[in-house]
């Protein structure tokens, strides 16, 4: 009986648990999902690490995109001259 309750209400595979971790980051979990995930994480070291790493990852991705706002690409002088010509001809 106890095992059945566990199967029904608390059992999560690592695959399901990691998906809930992603969902938690993007939006929120239902109370039942929260309970299941907390229970799973209390027993599972790899998924606990995964959860911590997802915080670092999310942070690093955001920082990466922020830092890449600095202009880095330029037209070559030749391309610019070509473009000037095209605009001139079509003006």
């Amino acid at each position: 009986m106890k095992l059945n309750l566990y199967q029904k209400y608390l059992r999560l595979t690592c695959q399901e648990a990691t998906l809930l971790i992603t969902k938690r980051q993007e939006t929120s979990l239902t109370p039942q999902e929260k309970l299941k995930l907390r229970f799973h994480l209390s027993l599972c070291i790899p998924c606990t690490r995964f959860a911590k790493q997802m915080v670092i990852l999310e942070d690093s991705i955001a920082r990466f995109f922020k830092s890449s706002t600095n202009p880095t690409q330029q037209f070559s002088a030749k391309k610019k001259a070509d473009l000037e010509k095209i605009i001139d001809q079509n003006s």
Binding site: T13, C14, Q15, E16, T18, L19, T22, K23, E26, T27, P46, C47, R49, F50, K52, Q53, M54, I56, L57, S60, I61, A62, R63, F64, F65, K66, S67, S68, T69, P71, T72, Q73, Q74, F75, K79, K80, L83, E84, I86, I87, D88, N90, S91
Partner: protein, 202 residues
């Protein structure tokens, strides 16, 4: 009042001969951040200028020249991602079962992580490795993002460059919200594994 009006008029006229020096590089960066493809970005900027010249009679002067040109460029970028050409080119993603079986045992087997895919303890690794500063991590992220299938990478660009919320991303990519979690999740699993091998085990 009069002088104010003429001032506005003057500001909002088109000066094509100055477009290259004023906008070309900035527009190239704008396109590049959204497509990660330099040649394509150059083409899109060129097409933008040509379309703008063709449509110059439609320029009412309600907006700034710059705003008007960027609006055209944005449309070009959107058109590119919606074009049949792009849809045809992009790789098909493996179905979920196949993808997840790379990381996890089947449910019947218990659904745990495969032994060689279990996340390692990053804290210990980071302490041992003097190269794990912000720059190294940023480079590793860049490399790992490049390895993602285009379809997944596009989600991150929409989220972080365009600052779209999940609802808008789903609309843009024509996917359901549960589809969206799974795609983000796949991208993150892949990125995490890539970082662990490329950043920590240099």
């Amino acid at each position: 009042m009069m002088s104010e009006n003429t001032g506005v008029m003057k500001e909002n006229t088109l000066e094509p001969s100055l477009w290259i020096s004023r906008y070309a590089d900035a527009m190239l960066n704008f396109a590049f951040r959204r497509t990660s493809d330099l040649t394509l970005s150059e083409d899109l900027v060129q097409e933008t200028f040509l379309s703008a010249l063709k449509a110059r009679d439609n320029f009412k002067g309600n907006s700034q020249e710059k705003t008007w040109l960027y609006a055209i460029l944005e449309n070009k970028i959107t058109d590119h991602f919606r074009s049949s050409n792009y849809r045809f080119q992009k790789q098909k993603l493996a179905i979920d079962e196949v993808f997840f079986s790379h990381y996890f045992e089947s449910k019947e087997q218990g659904g745990h992580w495969h032994e060689d895919q279990k996340p390692k303890n990053w804290e210990n690794l980071a302490e041992d490795d003097p190269t794990t500063d912000g720059e190294a991590l940023s480079n590793a992220i860049e490399n790992c993002l490049k390895k993602l299938p285009q379809k997944l990478a596009r989600i991150f660009i929409l989220k972080h460059v365009e600052a779209y919320n999940s609802e808008k991303i789903c609309k843009e990519l024509d996917i359901t919200s549960s589809n969206y979690w799974v795609m983000i999740h796949r991208a993150k699993l892949q990125l995490r594994a890539c970082l662990e091998t490329n950043w920590f085990e240099l």
